[in-house]
């Protein structure tokens, strides 16, 4: 964990369960928190300095990113990094500024994933479609784009499914020619299966996942073990006793002349 990452981390993020998470997940998690996304709604400056228009002096300039809000709906679609910008408009120099929200225009499109062999109706923006064209296909776009720029749970879920399919080779099981084609096309994105199954989980979900996994591996206390053994033994014993009782009864009844009378 880098120093900056440690500063970002509240106490519970470095707690017991977080430490239990696999290293590759933790590395990806910190990267997703520290990495700067590609600016979508503003244009960054090319240089660090500029010449002042009036006095001709060298002046430092800096990028101050415009804050963007990502509503929960953006996790249900692929907005291509777009979000809602909240701010003000100055419509007239003599009038008071007016609050304004710049919202993306969304549309539903049918997109096809080659690896998953699935058609999906997904809410997208024009930017997403442009990015898909730029990447030469939907699968390439999802696999190529970083979590920070994808900015969508749906996108990350699709990424996990694709990477898992690539790692487990579950695509087109009946068509070896097509399988080879897919492998050639998307082989460069392949990662290990253990890593692929952790991609795209939020920290909360990841902790639930690790807890469930650890629950399965938990050592059974000796108390439980001996209890189970004892119960087994007792069950056996009672079974044996029953059978032996029946035998004895029958044996006694066979010998004793009073057996029958006493019972009746």
């Amino acid at each position: 964990m880098s120093s900056s990452a440690r500063k970002l981390a509240p106490a519970w993020r470095s707690g017991m369960w977080f430490d239990m998470l696999p290293e590759h997940y933790k590395a990806r998690y910190w990267e997703s928190r520290t990495r700067q996304p590609i600016p979508v709604h503003w244009i960054p400056n090319k240089d660090k300095y500029m010449i002042h228009p009036k006095n001709g002096q060298k002046v430092r300039i800096e990028d101050v990113p415009i804050p963007v809000k990502y509503p929960k709906e953006c996790d249900e679609g692929l907005w291509g990094g777009e979000g809602v910008v909240k701010g003000f408009q100055k419509r007239h120099p003599l009038r008071r500024r007016v609050p304004h929200y710049w919202i993306p225009s969304l549309k539903k499109k049918i997109l096809y994933s080659e690896i998953l062999d699935r058609y999906m109706v997904i809410t997208v923006t024009s930017r997403t479609l442009d990015l898909i064209d730029e990447a030469y296909g939907f699968d390439h776009y999802i696999l190529k784009t970083h979590q920070v720029d994808l900015k969508s749970d749906l996108g990350m879920t699709l990424k996990r499914e694709m990477l898992l399919a690539l790692a487990q080779k579950t695509y087109y099981p009946d068509d070896p020619a097509r399988q080879a084609k897919i492998l050639k096309k998307y082989g460069k994105y392949m990662i290990l299966e253990e890593e692929a199954e952790w991609i795209g989980y939020s920290l909360k979900d990841a902790i639930i996942k690790i807890r469930l996994q650890l629950d399965d591996k938990k050592p059974v206390p000796l108390k439980e073990k001996y209890k189970a053994e004892l119960l087994e033994q007792l069950a056996d014993a009672s079974h044996k006793d029953k059978s032996s009782d029946q035998e004895t009864k029958s044996w006694i009844s066979r010998i004793s002349p009073f057996g029958g009378k006493s019972e009746s």
């Binding site: 415009i66 777009e82 701010g87 408009q89 100055k90 058609y119 024009s126 064209d133």
Partner: protein, 278 residues
């Protein structure tokens, strides 16, 4: 050596069935030019903003990864629109055709098409693929095959516009206007001129006339055969119109001239359509 050059039927530009056979490349270029010209319409796209007032500079970072920033008051959240690509023309997309697509191109052609056509139709249906370096490598033999086909062909090759042209020719009815007073015999030149008036350029050698000649003594509706690319044949019905302009010496009612004969023929066969096609 016959080839359709362009099929911009909707714009009423003439269809060419010319003797000069343009290479497939010209065809594609034509299409690209058309597509670039037409593809300008409104799109809603990303908002790109900038601050109206520049905030004061932050202090230089004291240590590595110093992320501290000054708090910005509301006036620094007044934004101006830099660019909303509201009416930016959509750039046409270059795709590689994997199948023959009517009106667009043949298998192995690289064509520029309208963006939405590619996204909604050609790419999802598998008729075309993106022109990515990998795809160009994968389909290299397909592209080469198509190139060879164009180069090696002695005569014209069957282009993607043949079907569209055939459809257009099949639905049309050719009106031939002739003089009512003077004697004439219809030749291929008359047919070609009539086609040109209807917006289709046809060379004379592509026309096959009916066996018995049509003269001013015996004006009637007839059918001609058109050969497209020397591969496909279409039958086009022709309708005669007799016309005289200016100070006309109308024929006497008892003297049945050409007009009178035509009228008679129409009366006797009421099934035949008399209205000229639009």
């Amino acid at each position: 050596m016959l080839r359709v050059l362009s099929t911009l039927v909707r714009t009423r530009s003439p269809l060419f069935l010319t003797k000069t056979s343009p290479s497939s490349q010209t065809l594609l270029l034509d299409r690209q030019a058309a597509c670039e010209g037409l593809e300008v319409h409104q799109t809603r796209n990303t908002w790109i903003l900038k601050r109206k007032w520049t905030p004061p500079l932050n202090k230089l970072p004291r240590y590595e990864d110093d992320k501290r920033r000054r708090h910005l008051p509301s006036r620094f959240h007044v934004y101006e629109l830099v660019e909303h690509r509201d009416s930016v023309p959509l750039k046409p997309l270059e795709v590689l055709l994997v199948e023959n697509v009517e009106g667009i191109g043949m298998k192995g052609d690289i064509v520029k098409v309208k963006l939405n056509l590619a996204r909604d139709q050609l790419l999802p249906s598998g008729q075309a693929v993106y022109c990515s370096p990998e795809n160009l490598e994968d389909y290299a033999d397909l592209i080469e095959k198509r190139k060879k086909e164009i180069e090696d062909a002695e005569g014209p090759t069957r282009s993607a516009f043949v079907e569209t042209t055939l459809k257009y020719l099949q639905q049309m009815r050719l009106n031939i206007t002739m003089n009512r007073n003077n004697p004439w015999t219809i030749t291929k030149n008359h047919i070609a001129v009539s086609f040109r008036k209807a917006g289709v350029v046809v060379p004379e050698y592509a026309i096959t006339m009916p066996n018995d000649p049509i003269t001013s003594d015996n004006p009637r509706d007839f059918e001609i055969q058109l050969m497209v690319n020397r591969t496909d044949e279409v039958t086009v019905p022709c309708h005669m119109f007799l016309y005289a302009s200016g100070n006309v010496n109308r024929a006497a009612p008892d003297d049945k001239g050409a007009y009178g004969k035509l009228a008679e023929a129409e009366m006797s066969t009421p099934d035949q359509p008399t209205n000229p096609s639009p």
